[in-house]
Symmetry: C2
Subunit: 455 residues, 2 copies
Amino acid sequence: MKRAMFQLDQKDMPNHWYNILPDLPEPLPAVLHPGTGNPVTPDDLAPLFPMGLIMQEFSPEQYIEIPEEVQEIYRIWRPTNLHRAYALEKALDTPAKIFYKYEGTSPAGSHKPNTAVAQAYYNKKEGTKRIATETGAGQWGSSMAFGCALFGIECKVYMVKISYQQKPYRRLMMNTWGATCVASPSTDTKAGRDMLAKDPDCPGSLGLAISEAVEDAAGRDDTHYSLGSVLNHVLLHQTIIGQEAMMQMEMADAYPDIIVGCVGGGSNFAGMYLPFVKDKINGKKPDLRIINVEPESCPTLTKGLYAYDFGDVAGMTPLLKMFTLGHDFMPPPVHAGGLRYHGMAPIICHLHKLGLVEARAVPQMATFEAGIQFARTEGIISAPETNHAIRATIDEALKCRESGESKTILLAHSGHGHFDLAAYDAYLSGKLVDYAYPEEKVKEALANLPKVANQ
Amino acid sequence: MKRAMFQLDQKDMPNHWYNILPDLPEPLPAVLHPGTGNPVTPDDLAPLFPMGLIMQEFSPEQYIEIPEEVQEIYRIWRPTNLHRAYALEKALDTPAKIFYKYEGTSPAGSHKPNTAVAQAYYNKKEGTKRIATETGAGQWGSSMAFGCALFGIECKVYMVKISYQQKPYRRLMMNTWGATCVASPSTDTKAGRDMLAKDPDCPGSLGLAISEAVEDAAGRDDTHYSLGSVLNHVLLHQTIIGQEAMMQMEMADAYPDIIVGCVGGGSNFAGMYLPFVKDKINGKKPDLRIINVEPESCPTLTKGLYAYDFGDVAGMTPLLKMFTLGHDFMPPPVHAGGLRYHGMAPIICHLHKLGLVEARAVPQMATFEAGIQFARTEGIISAPETNHAIRATIDEALKCRESGESKTILLAHSGHGHFDLAAYDAYLSGKLVDYAYPEEKVKEALANLPKVANQ
C-alpha cells in the first residue's frame, strides 16, 4: 500500500479558466427579467456586478485568461494536490482506484476563494469600494472577506441568523480579515426590518440574506453585490479545479471512469467536471459518468421541477431556468449548510436535462458514517457537504468490490470540517437524525413559481 | 510584486531525520533519575516508551532513516510549501526578503503530526495497543489521535480541564479520529482523584495532565506514554521541516540570515533550525542568527534558570537540564496555550547556553497585532503561538527598513488558528490584555527545584 500525492508545479498552474458555454450541444436557456419575462441584458445587471464579471456570464470565448493579480493570490495555495486514497481503498477492500482533489488547503478552507478572489479583483479594477454579500453556513462569507482583505475592499456580510449564532468562529474569521458581519434579518435594510417587525425571533434564511445584500448593494453607489455559487461566472472561476485535476490524473497515468462531487449551488463540483464534460461532448470519453450528490432532504436535481425560478426567497433576482424545489421552500436543518438551496446552477441543470450528468440523493446519517471512515483512513476531517460526495464515492467503490471491476473514481473534495465539528459530535453521540423528503412543502413551494416565465 | 510558493516534489522528500547530538560542540548534559540523581538508562524509560524511540533519544547517528510506513503517512500533506511573503514585505515597505514554511496544511493543522505519526509507528511496531497522553490547548492531543487512528492504536487523552471546556472543537477532532478525551483532573487516575478531593473545581494544568497520563501508562501493560515536545526524539522527528526548508531555500536561490520561530517546548522551531545550526557549527554560515520567541509572561529562555528540573508539576518525570521557571510555576492565561510551559527542550537550552541561538520575549497584544497584519496580507490566519514568531519577523523586517539592509528572514510558521478565533475576537473587541512578567511567582517556583541534581 502506498499513498501518493500528485503535485502540480506552480509554473504549470492553468492561466485560463474554461468556459463551457460555446461547447454546449444546445445553448443555455436565457436568464429572464423578473418584471418583463424578457432576456436580461448586461446593463440590467450593472447595478449589482462589475462589467468584467457580467461579460463572463455571457461570454462566447472557450478560454478566459486569469488575470495575473488573481493568479498571484491563487499562488498562496494553488495548485492544490490530487491524492490517491490507498488507505480508503484498502479499508473497503475494493479493486477501484480512488483519487481525490483536495481544496481544503485554501486559507478559508474550501474551494470558495477560487471565485472570491476573482470577484474581488474585477470589482477592484472597476473602482468598487465596498461589497455586500450573504452567507449561510459561513464558507462563502469568510472567503469573500479573505478576497476583499487582499484587494483592500470593504466587505459587509449578511449571515443567516441561526448560523451566526451556531458558528461564531466563521464570523470571527470574517472579522479577522477585516469584514463586517451582521446577523440576518438585520436592522440595516428594509427587507430585514420588515421581517423583524413581522417576527422578531426570525432565524433567517439564505433567501432573506440575499435580499438584504442585494438591497444594500442596489442602494449605494460605492457598493456591488457578490454571489458565491449558481451563476455562470462563478462556475467559470472554479474550473481551475478541473483543469488542474486533468493534468494531475495524467501524471497518475489515469483517467476517471466516474467523477463524484456534492452540489448545493453546484460551483465546486461543476468547477471540477466541466473540463471533463468537454471530453464527453467531444466523444473522447463518451462513457464517463458524472454523479452530482445532494441531500435526500433537499433533492433539487432528483425531485425538483425544471422551470424558471427566482434565486432568492423574496423574488428580487432575475429568473433562472433550473431544477428547483420552489424559491420559498425551506429545507430541513441538515448540517451540510452549503447544500440547503432550493435551486441549482443553470449550467448543471442544463447538462442534467441533456443527460450528460446524473444525480443522486443520500441521507444525512450515511454521509457522516462515510466522513468518519474517510477521517480514520485518509486522515482528513471533511466538511459535511463533502461527506455527501464521500458517501457516493464509497458506494461506487463497494459496487466495484461486488463486480470485480477496477474503475477509476475521482472525488471532488471541497474542503475541511474544522468549523463543523459540532455536527460530528451530534453524529457520534447519537443525536443526529435523517429527515424525510418534505414532499408536501415542496408541492406548496412549486405552486408559487413566477408566472411571467412559466406557462 | 509576485507571490511564490516553493514546492518540493514528493519524491525529493527527505527520507532521514537529522540528529544533532553527534554534531554538538559539547555533549548534551545527561538526563538524571529523579530518585538517585544518576543518569537514566534506556531500561529506566522502557515502561513508558517503545525501545525504538528510546534509542533515538540517545542515538549517536547523524541521520536516522524515516521508516517507509511513516513516510507514507507524511505523504498525505508533506512536503509542506515554503512561501515568499511578498505582500507582507510590501505592506512593511522593507527591503528584507521574508520566507515562511507553513505547517498548517497537515490534517491536524500544525507541525505536531510529524512526530505523532512517528511515535504511533514505533509503538505499533513493538505491539503497543494503547497510548495515553496529555494535551493543553489540544494541538498535540488531536495530532496523537490522528496518528493513532492511522495505525489502529487506541488513544486516551487527558486534556487540561479549562481547555477542555473552552475548546470543545479540539476534543471533537480527537473523537472524530476515534480517541477518548477526558478533562483533567479526571476520576480515572489516582493523581486526578487526589486533586479533585482537594479541589473539586480545579481547572487543571499541563503538569497535572502529564502526571495522569504517565500514571495511566505506567499502570497498564498494553499502554505506553507519549510526549509531544521537549524530548530529543520529538525534535528529531521535526527536523523534516528544516531539511525540506533548506532544499526549498536553495530553490529560491537564498539562504537565511535570520531564522525566527516560537518556542513552548521547542519542537517545531528546533525542527526547523537544527539542520541550519549544523551549518553554523561547521562554519559554513557562522553569522546566521536564530531567534527563539517566547511570551513575556512565560519567558523561559530569557528569564529562566539553567538547572535540572522535572518536566511535570507533580515531579514524576526524569530530570532534564534546561532553562526553567520552576516546575510548579503557573503561567498567566495567555492565548498561546502551546507556549505556556515552565521548561524548554534540553537541546535548545544547550544551544542557547553555548551562544549558538538567541531568545526574545514579546508581549501578547503585539503578537495579535502582527497576526492580523499577516492575515490581511498573506491571507493565512495563524495560531496565537505562531503570532509570536510573526511579531519578531516583522520587527526584524522593520529594522531592515531602518538600516536599508536586504536581509533574508525565514519564519517557521507552525500552524493555523482555526480553533483559536475566540482569542482573535478578544483582541479585536479590546478585551485582550498584556500580562506583566510574574517575577515573584517565578522566584517561588525556582526555590523549589529538585535538590538531588542541583547543588
